[in-house]
C-alpha cells in the first residue's frame, strides 16, 4: 500500500481566510481566555508586520492597530477537515484522518485511474489550491511515515519500503510525530534525529519511555501494522459560514454563497452524486431564519450552474433583517446522470441543454412557472387538461370531435349577431359525480370578424346567448 499524506499546517487560518473577502489585509486568529487573548495564527500580511503566533492581542494591536482579530472556533476546523475528507474520497475509498492536521489517502489502488504519482499529485494540489487550502503532500508506504515526510519535505515521494529506514534516519525528532514531552526528554539526552533513536537498544527504550514510543517507531518503519479507521462520507451536506459583519443586501452575499456552492460541488463530485434540492438558510439576529429553497427537476452538480441558480433564487428572496450567517443544507442527493451529447451535434458551442435552461427559468420565474400539458380523460373541457412539471412519456392520442387549440380558462359570453354555425352540436353532459355538472351543446362557429370559435349553449336550447370557450387559432 502507498499512503499519501496531505498535511494542513494552517487549517484554522485557512478556514477563516477562504471565506474572508479581503484575505490580503492583516488578519489574525485569536484564542485563549478573555483576560489573556493570544494570537493563534497570523496571515502573510500580518506576519510581514512582525506579528507572530503566541503574541498577546494587546501587543499585536500596539504593532498593527488595524489588525483584524477573529475568534478561533475549533468546530470550524473540524468541519473543514471533514469537507476535505469528502473531497479526498473521490480519489480513493480509503481515506483516514490523522491527528488534528492531516488527511491520509491510500493511493496505490487509485494510481491506475489517476495516472502516475507526479500527475496524481498535481491533481491533488490543483484541487486544494482551488479550495483555498495551504497544504504539504508526501507519499510513503506507511501512513505514519507519509505524515512525517510531509512535515519534513513537501513533495517527497518514497515508493519502495526497502529505503524506508534510510529516509527516516534523516528526520529530526521534532517532526517525527512523537509526543512532545518524549521529544524534550530525548533532546535532553542529546538525541536530535530519528537515526539516533532507532540505533538505541529496544529494551532500554521500552523501559525508559514505555511501549508507546517503540510502537510508534515500528509503525513508522512498517514493522508493525497500522490499521486505520476509514472515513465514511455523510449522507447529508451541511455547511455554515458565519459572517464577520451583518449583511443586509444581496451583492455582499455572493462571495460566501460561491464558497458554499463550490464546497457542495466538491462534496458531490466526491460521492459521484448530484443534488436535487437544497436550502440556503439566512440566519438573523432577532428574526427567524429565512430559507431560500432551490429545487431542481433533475440532479445537477456543476458548480457554476448551481451557483447561478442559487444566486437567482437568493435575489428573489427578500431579506427581512441583517444576516449574521449563511447555511447550506442539502438532503436530497440522488445519483447524478450526466447528460449525453451527440458527437455530431451541430448546435452552437455556447448552447445550453434544455434541463439547464429549464432550471434557470424556474429559478427566476418560480417553481411552477415551467410546465407541460397532458390530456386527461375527462369529457368536460375544463378538466381535460393536466399541468405537470415534467411529462416523461408521450400520452396516447385520443380521437375527439374538433377541438380548439386555445381554451379560455373560463367560458365567457360571445356577443355577435352574425354568427355562422360550421359544425355541431356536440353534446357534453357529464360531471354529476363531483358537483361540476355540465350539460352543454358545443358548436364550431364563425364570427363576423372571420374568427373561428368554439362556443356552447345549454343543452337542448337552440337559440339565445352563446358562451365562448375556445379559439381555433
Amino acid at each position: 500500500m502507498l499512503w499519501a499524506c496531505i498535511l494542513l499546517p494552517q487549517l484554522a487560518l485557512d478556514a477563516v481566510l477562504r471565506r474572508h473577502p479581503t484575505p490580503e489585509l492583516p488578519l489574525s486568529l485569536i484564542s485563549g481566555p478573555v483576560q489573556r487573548r493570544v494570537l493563534l495564527d497570523v496571515n502573510t500580511a500580518a506576519h510581514a508586520l512582525g506579528l507572530v503566533p503566541g503574541m498577546g492581542l494587546l501587543a499585536a494591536h500596539a504593532i498593527a492597530p488595524r489588525l483584524l482579530a477573529i475568534d478561533h472556533v475549533p468546530r470550524e476546523d473540524e468541519n473543514l477537515r471533514s469537507l476535505l475528507a469528502a473531497w479526498a474520497y473521490r480519489y480513493s475509498s480509503m481515506v483516514s484522518l490523522e491527528g488534528e492536521d492531516a488527511i491520509l489517502i491510500e493511493v496505490e489502488a487509485s494510481l491506475g485511474l489517476f495516472g502516475p504519482w507526479p500527475q496524481f499529485e498535481r491533481k491533488l494540489r490543483d484541487d486544494l489550491q482551488m479550495l483555498g487550502i495551504t497544504h504539504r503532500i508526501a507519499l510513503a508506504p506507511t501512513p505514519m511515515a507519509a505524515c512525517v515526510f510531509a512535515a519534513a519535505h513537501d513533495g517527497y515521494a518514497l515508493t519502495a519500503s526497502t529505503n524506508m529506514r534510510q529516509a527516516l534516519a534523516q528526520i529530526p525528532l521534532s517532526l517525527a510525530r512523537i509526543d512532545p514531552p518524549v521529544v524534550t526528554a530525548l533532546a535532553a539526552m542529546g538525541l536530535k534525529k530519528l537515526r539516533q533513536v532507532m540505533a538505541l537498544p529496544r529494551d532500554g527504550l521500552a523501559r525508559r519511555f514505555g511501549p508507546g514510543l517503540l510502537a510508534h517507531l515500528d509503525r513508522l518503519s512498517g514493522d508493525r501494522p497500522d490499521p486505520r479507521l476509514c472515513y465514511r462520507p455523510p449522507d447529508v451536506f451541511e455547511q455554515r459560514i458565519e459572517l464577520n459583519y451583518e449583511i443586509s443586501h444581496h451583492p455582499a452575499l455572493l462571495f460566501p454563497l460561491r464558497r458554499l456552492v463550490n464546497d457542495l460541488a466538491a462534496y458531490l463530485a466526491g460521492r459521484d452524486g448530484g443534488v436535487q434540492r437544497f436550502v440556503i438558510a439566512l440566519e438573523h439576529e432577532d428574526h427567524a431564519d429565512t430559507d431560500a429553497v432551490v429545487g431542481l427537476l433533475a440532479a445537477e452538480r456543476d458548480p457554476a450552474r448551481l451557483f447561478d441558480l442559487a444566486r437567482t433564487r437568493l435575489e428573489r428572496t427578500t431579506i427581512p433583517a441583517p444576516i449574521r450567517a449563511l447555511r447550506l443544507i442539502a438532503r436530497e442527493l440522488p445519483p447524478f446522470i450526466p447528460a449525453g451529447r451527440d458527437l455530431f451535434d451541430d448546435r452552437p458551442a455556447q448552447a445550453m441543454p434544455w434541463p439547464a435552461l429549464r432550471e434557470r427559468l424556474r429559478a427566476r420565474l418560480g417553481e411552477d412557472a415551467v410546465y407541460q400539458l397532458a390530456a386527461h380523460p375527462d369529457p368536460r373541457p375544463e378538466f381535460a387538461l393536466r399541468r405537470l412539471p415534467q411529462l416523461l412519456k408521450e400520452p396516447a392520442p385520443v380521437s375527439l370531435p374538433p377541438r380548439p387549440t386555445w381554451l379560455l380558462p373560463r367560458p365567457m359570453p360571445l356577443r355577435d349577431n352574425a354568427l355562422k354555425i360550421l359544425a355541431g352540436p356536440e353534446r357534453i353532459e357529464s360531471g354529476w359525480w363531483d358537483g361540476g355538472d355540465i350539460r352543454r351543446d358545443y358548436y364550431v362557429v364563425q364570427t363576423s370578424l372571420g374568427q373561428r370559435a368554439w362556443a356552447f349553449r345549454p343543452a337542448g336550447v337552440n337559440e339565445g346567448a352563446w358562451m365562448l370557450h375556445g379559439w381555433f387559432a
Binding site: E394, P397, T405, L407
Partner: protein, 210 residues
C-alpha cells in the same frame, strides 16, 4: 486578403442579386407546410435562425395553424417547443391531433417583462426547436435583442403581436400580417429579408381540419 468565401455559399445567399430572378433554396430554412407561403419565402420556408413577427388582427384567425405543421415536424425531432406566456390555455388534445408531440411542448408562465427575458433565454440557449411568444411590451430595442438571441442560438422565434404594431418598424427579418377579409383569413407579407414581399395576399387554408 480578407476572409475566403466559397462561391456556392455566396450563391446561396438570398441577398446576392445575380441579374435574373432565380430562387435558390436557402439551406437554413424549414418548410412551413403551406405550399403558397413556402413559394413566397426566399428560402422556401421559415428562416431557421431568426425572429418572425406575426401580426394578427384577432384571435382565432388561424395564427397557430400557420405554425402547427412546422411545430409538429420539430417536435418529432425531439426538440422542445416553448410557449412563453401564451394568452390562453393550449388545449392539449387539439395540439396533439395536429401532430405535435406533447412531451416536447413546454409552457412558461411569466409576466410581461419576464416573458421577454424568458424568450431571449430560450432563443439564446440553442436547445429549443421553436420559441413562441406573445410579447405585450415589446419595443424596437427588445425585438432587436430577440433577433440577436435567435441568431446566436440558431433557433426560430415567433412573436405574435397585435396588428396595431404593423406601422412600427421592426428588426425582425420576416413580418406577416394575418387579418380577415370577408369569410377567409388573409395572409400578407410586409417584410422579408432577401426578397421582395409579394404584393398580393398569400393563399392560406387556416382551418384545414374542417
Amino acid at each position: 486578403m480578407g476572409q475566403l468565401v466559397a462561391i456556392d455559399t455566396l450563391l446561396r445567399d438570398a441577398r446576392l442579386w445575380r441579374g435574373q430572378p432565380v430562387l435558390v433554396p436557402e439551406i437554413n430554412s424549414r418548410a412551413t407546410g403551406h405550399a403558397a407561403l413556402d413559394a413566397s419565402l426566399p428560402g422556401g420556408g421559415w428562416p431557421a435562425a431568426a425572429l418572425v413577427e406575426i401580426l394578427f388582427a384577432s384571435d382565432g384567425l388561424g395564427e397557430l395553424s400557420l405554425l402547427l405543421p412546422t411545430l409538429a415536424a420539430l417536435s418529432s425531432q425531439a426538440k422542445p417547443i416553448v410557449l412563453v406566456a401564451p394568452p390562453y390555455l393550449p388545449y392539449a388534445p387539439a395540439w396533439q391531433n395536429a401532430g405535435l408531440r406533447l412531451a416536447q411542448l413546454q409552457v412558461i408562465e411569466a409576466n410581461a417583462s419576464d416573458a421577454l427575458w424568458a424568450m431571449e433565454q430560450a432563443l439564446r440557449s440553442g436547445c429549443c426547436g421553436a420559441v413562441l411568444a406573445w410579447p405585450t411590451k415589446a419595443d424596437d430595442k427588445s425585438l432587436r435583442r430577440l433577433q440577436v438571441a435567435a441568431e446566436t442560438g440558431q433557433t426560430s422565434g415567433f412573436a405574435f403581436r397585435p396588428i396595431a404594431a404593423q406601422s412600427n418598424s421592426s428588426p425582425a427579418p420576416l413580418r406577416l400580417v394575418l387579418k380577415s377579409s370577408g369569410d377567409a383569413p388573409q395572409l400578407r407579407m410586409i417584410k422579408c429579408r432577401g426578397a421582395l414581399p409579394p404584393a398580393t395576399a398569400i393563399a392560406f387554408a387556416a382551418h384545414a381540419q374542417h
